[in-house]
């Protein structure tokens, strides 16, 4: 089933880095849609909950050196 979740990253340090994270989450299997906003730090992911979940998105964010928070 399609789910939407929201995460916060308060420590993005450059706009390009936010788009890189967006691309990383977007290429995760099961993710239908993702928006990462540098200005507000808001991460919104629409995904198939049978395939993936928030833990995978958090991992992707951490890999790029940022701290995800559940919103």
């Amino acid at each position: 089933m399609t789910e939407t979740t929201q995460l916060r990253v308060m420590d993005f340090d450059c706009p390009t880095c936010a788009s890189t994270v967006e691309r990383a989450i977007g290429s995760t299997e099961g993710v239908a849609d993702v928006e990462v906003h540098y200005t507000t730090g808001r991460v919104e992911v629409t995904y198939d909950e049978r395939v993936t979940g928030p833990a995978a998105f958090e991992q992707a964010i951490e890999n790029h050196g940022y701290t995800p928070q559940r919103a």
Binding site: M10, D11, F12, D13, C14, P15, T16, C17, S19, T20, R23, A24, S27, H37, Y38, T39, T40, G41, R42, E62, N63, H64, G65, Y66, T67
Partner: protein, 658 residues
């Protein structure tokens, strides 16, 4: 103290540590790398132990660079050649040619820069979240005759919440019992408390200052006015302003150009470090960060002052406003029309009878003048001794109509009734025709206006009042004068706008004389009277040929004019989603003084964005020239680059305190 042998879940401890470690990792890594760098540098300079110095400097680069390299690797996996990979390559390259000092310095400076950038941006981002934290987590709810404490977001619509004096209101709702003063600053930005009693709306996160209140819930959790506002503000912050889009488009050409330049420089000079230096310092950091930081800070500042700006685009336009058009009723005036005088002119028809006739005719009308006339007639019936002014409104700006049931008996329904838009009403009662309206209506119906009546009407109108004729069977029998008080703040606000070089215009459906009187009292530059709603829209359209126009209104009746203006400003929007929907800028409170503030903030934002773009462009130009002219090297270039990024962020953040 817990130890691992305690009955705690074993994985609890390391996890907690891990998370704490992750939180402070950037700071720790940066600090360690910096200390090693300083140590390596001093060892080299003071003791001359070259090998030791080199080893410590390489260690500094490795400690600081490990995370950067790892993140660069993930960037590459996403098919992005990002700044982190470039910094890694630059550091590795520097070590390879024996420039240990440069390697350690570039890593440390980049690490420090991005740590500080993340930290300052966190401050900007959390400015809004602080607003949300004002909503209490729990609510006291009346359930089955008991008061129970439940999580605020679990309160159901229709449930009654008890709010103690001094407590924050946990939900949106309507007061059903009690009376108090409520500080609505989190929503409206107004620190003066608002009086609340039965039937008044209250908002989550506002503070109940005096008495206990019982509030019937209309929205809780994420369905509150504050939550909706914050969501709107975030959307506004995320939307790109024209400058941002321009800069982004520029960056898509600029970045490849820098890569070509770097490769070209390497091809010519065979100097790998020069190529890498160009790549690192050529990153358009300050340029792409500057505009969004300015906009986010300004939109956040506005939100905390009760002004919802719906995007950077509107902020940039609002900064160019040089004409503000005000709707009169409910904007420059309070929108609380009251009857100020009734005069009888016919034989045997006294003032009370004139008012009664007018009230009969207007009873079914939904016009605000009609409402005021009916209210005054009821008042007079109940308190015959009093002068005939009605009650003023409490909160919403509408005329309070008391005791509907009693009033219906004293003022009969008209047998027939017809509204003529912009003119008045024609009604029939017991075979007699009552006409209530302006001069145009009387002329239409061929009713003569005697000299004394015309003189009286003129006199009332030059005082800024609206005079309504009352005619019975084709003969004018009296005049009802009404007045809508001007807001105390209006003259000051108009003066403040003039001070800023902004022209002011009033648009109104009222007649020429009334309009002139109000315009003079407020001190407004110009006025257009006798306008129908579509005329107002046309007037705004005409102003736009010469000016950047803001239109101020309630956002409901004047939605078309608001939409036509360059910037539509709606007042008193807290409770009405339609107003927030149609406006570009919504003032949560009925507070005119926010208009000069909003325009001032927008102007400051335009300046701020321009400053940031200038700093960024200047930095890049100087650095490129410096690098190509061999004046600037890797570490120095990085220092200036990171410095310029921090400078534009800090400059943008000044708008948080405008």
């Amino acid at each position: 103290m817990y130890t691992l042998t305690d009955e705690m879940p074993v994985d609890w401890l390391p996890n907690e540590w891990l998370r704490a470690g992750r939180r402070h990792r950037k700071a720790a890594v940066t600090a360690t790398s910096g200390l090693l760098y300083a140590a390596g540098w001093s060892v080299g300079h003071v003791s001359g132990l070259e090998t030791v110095s080199a080893a410590v400097l390489v260690l500094a680069a490795v400690v600081g660079g490990y995370d950067i390299a790892k993140q660069g690797y993930y960037e590459l996996r996403n098919r992005t050649l990002g700044i982190k990979m470039l910094v890694t390559l630059a550091a590795v390259g520097a070590v390879a040619i024996g420039e240990y000092w440069e390697a350690a310095a570039v890593v440390f400076l980049f690490s420090l820069g991005s740590y500080l950038e993340g930290r300052t941006m966190r401050k900007t981002r959390s400015a809004l979240q602080e607003l949300l934290e004002l909503t209490p987590d729990t609510a006291l709810v009346r359930r089955d005759g008991e008061v129970v404490e439940v999580p605020a977001r679990e309160v159901e619509e229709g449930e009654v919440v008890v709010v103690k004096p001094g407590g924050e209101i946990p939900v949106d709702g309507v007061v059903v019992d009690g009376e108090s003063a409520v500080n609505q600053a989190p929503i409206t930005g107004e620190s003066a408390p608002v009086h609340k009693t039965d039937g008044d709306e209250v908002y989550a996160a506002t503070v109940n200052q005096e008495g206990a209140l019982d509030v019937r819930t209309t929205g809780a959790g994420s369905d509150t006015t504050l939550q909706r506002i914050v969501r709107r503000v975030e959307e506004a912050q995320e939307a790109k302003s024209p400058t941002e889009s321009l800069v982004d488009r520029f960056a898509t050409y600029y970045t490849p150009a820098v890569v070509v330049l770097a490769v070209g420089a390497f091809a010519v000079t065979r100097d790998a470090i020069l190529g890498l230096t160009l790549l690192v310092i050529g990153c358009p950091g300050a340029l792409v960060i500057g505009p969004p930081v300015s906009v986010v800070s300004a939109v956040g500042n506005a939100a905390r002052n009760g002004v919802l700006v719906k995007g950077g685009e509107h902020l940039e336009t609002a900064g160019a406003i040089d004409l503000v058009a005000f709707d009169k009723t409910g904007t420059l005036t309070k929108g609380e029309t009251t009857v100020t005088g009734v005069e009888g002119f016919g034989a045997g028809v006294d003032a009370d009878e004139v008012l009664r006739l007018a009230a009969v005719a207007e009873k079914k009308s939904e016009h605000h003048l009609g409402g005021a006339i009916v209210a005054a007639a009821r008042e007079r019936r109940e308190h015959p001794g009093k002068s005939g002014t009605s009650d003023v409104a409490t909160d919403g700006g509408t005329v309070a109509v008391a005791s509907e049931a009693d009033g219906s008996r004293s003022i009969p329904d008209p047998d027939e009734f017809d509204v003529l838009a912009g003119k008045g009403v024609v009604a029939r009662l017991d075979g007699r025709e009552i006409v209530v309206g302006n001069r145009a209506l009387l002329d239409d119906r061929g009713i003569a206006v005697p000299g004394p009546v015309a003189a009286h009407v003129r006199e009332r109108e030059t005082r800024g009042e609206t005079a309504v004729h009352v005619a019975l069977d084709g003969e004018v029998v009296g005049v009802v004068a009404l007045r809508d008080e001007i807001r105390e703040a209006a003259p000051g606000v108009v003066a403040a706008l003039h001070e800023m070089g902004v022209r002011t215009v009033m648009l109104t459906g009222d007649n020429e004389r009334t309009a002139r009187a109000v315009a003079e009292e407020v001190g407004i530059d110009d006025y257009h009277a006798g306008l129908l709603p579509e005329d107002k829209q046309a007037a705004v359209e005409a102003f736009r040929e010469e000016y950047t126009v803001a239109m101020v209104g309630d956002g409901i009746n004047d939605a078309p004019s608001l939409a036509t203006a360059d910037v539509g400003i709606a007042m008193g929007a807290a409770g009405t989603d339609t107003a927030i929907e149609t406006a570009d800028v919504a003032l949560m409170a009925d507070d005119l003084e926010r208009i000069p503030y909003a325009i001032g903030l927008s102007r400051a934002t335009r300046w701020n964005v321009a400053e940031n773009v200038a700093v960024a462009v200047l930095t890049v130009v100087l650095l490129l020239a410096g690098v190509l002219g061999s004046v600037v090297h890797l570490a120095g270039g990085m220092l200036v680059h990171e410095g310029s990024v921090l400078l534009v962020i800090l400059n943008g953040m000044r708008l948080l305190r405008y």
